[in-house]
């Protein structure tokens, strides 16, 4: 029971993370292959904002140490991730398209990881941070604390979901889907594609930062090993399996994929050498990604086809749309 309760906040947090990725990749078509960099960055900032000043007896060195109260740390962390996102997207989004952009995001993420990992005076380097305060009141028992924290995560999940769903239905939402399907057309209609893409990228990174903050408060410690770049692809798997471009699909994918992959191995008997189960999990994620893309390219919950209001009759052949499903016009 305690175990099930401990999974609830994780599901909510992954929901937030996948929603942010879906905004960037699924809806706008910006291939951000270093999404988890922004999650980790937000987590770091939230950790150092809520920790007290670094003293020599804790054995950690880090910046800030401002002891800011809970909801504020989260928003500031989100803002910090958004700022980093704006910086990177300014370099990456200006003139680059799909392949190049994806590779540049990976390169930029690698640079961030290298700097953060090796400059121990920033965030204690590869040793990570611990003793991060949780927002749950201390007088509750452990289950109560976990349920309280679940409530907090759920609240943020609902806020993020409603905000992103409203954004998707707004005129801006139409513009970003237009950019995804054909940015040249959007440009021809007089939109500044670069600015819209950069804005969306920053908003997605804000969401990533908020999710990362909740993740670090959940664990009450920052272990760099659990924030490594491959985590991004677990998020991609969740988004694709749930349904690309569909926020409900993101929720579904987030509820099933990362938790299933992280936790199902817990019930398997240990066999083979240490790390074998871990390795087979990687194989399973990879094969599942390929199989889903092959036989169910739109995921479990499809993105609804756009409605053309100028045509009275329903279109004879609904054109395939979606970030991963359309045909290659090149």
């Amino acid at each position: 029971m305690q175990y099930v309760i401990s999974l609830l906040p994780l599901i909510c947090i992954y929901g937030i993370l996948v929603l942010g990725l879906n905004l960037q990749v699924g809806l706008t078509g910006i291939l951000n292959f270093t999404y988890f960099t922004f999650v980790a960055f937000g987590a770091y900032i939230a950790a150092v904002l809520s920790l007290g000043p670094a003293t020599s007896d804790s054995g950690m060195t880090y910046i800030l140490g401002a002891e800011i109260p809970f909801p504020l740390t989260l928003l500031l962390a989100g803002a910090a991730s958004a700022a980093l996102g704006a910086l990177i997207s300014f370099a990456a989004l200006r003139r680059l398209r799909s392949n190049y952009l994806a590779l540049v995001t990976v390169g930029a993420g690698y640079v961030v990881y290298t700097v953060v990992g090796n400059q121990t005076n920033l965030f204690n380097g590869w040793n990570g941070l611990f003793g991060v305060p949780t927002p749950a009141p201390q007088n509750l028992n452990s289950n109560g604390q976990m349920l309280f924290f679940t409530g907090v995560c759920l609240l943020f999940l609902i806020v993020v979901f409603v905000a992103l769903e409203r954004l998707r239905r707004s005129p801006l939402g139409r513009v970003i889907r237009g950019i995804r399907d054909d940015d040249g057309v959007v440009e021809a209609f007089g939109r500044n594609v670069f600015r819209v893409r950069m804005t969306v990228f920053a908003v997605g990174c804000f969401v990533a930062g908020v999710g990362g903050s909740l993740l670090v408060m959940y664990a009450t410690a920052f272990n760099p090993q659990s924030f490594l770049p491959p985590e991004t692809f677990i998020m991609f798997a969740a988004m694709i399996i749930g349904g690309v471009g569909n926020n409900w699909g993101s929720l579904l994918g987030a509820a099933v994929v990362p938790v299933a992959f992280a936790e199902v191995t817990r019930f398997l008997p240990e066999f083979g050498h240490a790390g074998l189960v871990e390795a087979l999990r990687g194989v399973a994620v990879g094969v599942l990604l390929i199989v889903v893309l092959r036989f169910m390219p739109q995921g479990v919950l499809r993105e609804r086809a756009p409605i053309d209001r100028d045509v009275r009759e329903p279109a004879v052949q609904p054109a395939p749309s979606g970030a991963l499903t359309g045909s290659n016009h090149a």
């Binding site: 190049y100 083979g272 990687g282 990879g286």
Partner: protein, 290 residues
Amino acid sequence: MHQIMLSIGFGLVTASILALAGAGLSLQFSITNFVNFAYGDYATLGAYLVLLGIHWHLPFLGAAIASGIAMALLSLLLYRVTFRSFVRRRSQNVTMLIVSIGVSLAVQGVISAIWGSGFQTYQLTAQAPLSIGPFQLTTQQLAVIGVAVVGLLGLHILLRYTTIGKSMRAMSDDKDLAEVSGINTARITDITWLISGLLVGVAGIVLAVNTASFTPLLGNQFLFLIFAGVILGGIGKIYGAMLGALIIGVCTEVAAGFVGSAYADAAAFLLMILILLVRPSGLFTAKGRS
């Protein structure tokens, strides 16, 4: 001055490995038109297959050759099993990218499952470095450069002077035009995967020789250096990839010597990003949208 010449010498070794893998990646991209994120893991697999050969009491050279051939075949097999059905459905580039990530995760997982995630080594005897001009390189490092030169020269001859090579270049220029001109594009695509698999397998082996000990993440980290080199040269430009590899290789080793080895790869990526800001489709391509 002495220090920088030493760094450039090591840079040449790294560049040779990058050039081998980069030429393979570029060749595959120019024919199939998608980026293969599993490519680094092919290199890792090549390095690990040598261990298998050594386990079966083959001499190192024999194991290396067998592994190179096996990687050529495996590369073709993986294309047939995974990528081809997506290509036939004319899937978007994005889809192909993510499919290749799936392949990458799977290959990496298989390697970890078979050999474990710990460090492996070929247990080659360590050698004292020889002084050649201003450089100090071991025989193994010289062999790495030699393998790269032979490999790239072979690729050059293939592309310039054989019918297969000419068909490849025709396909990379315009696939449809090549097809109506009577080129068997399916066969050329298969051959491309064979050759790029061979190149990356060999690159993985020489990389493992050069780094002495390796883990299943060997190629994963190396992949992005390969990409950096390929991007610098312009994606799909095989000769550009060779030159890009030279720049990136020297850049990493010089940065390792002067800033610290932890920053070697980061320096290469920074260089790549800076160059892309100025020339968004690489150094050796016509100006325009990528």
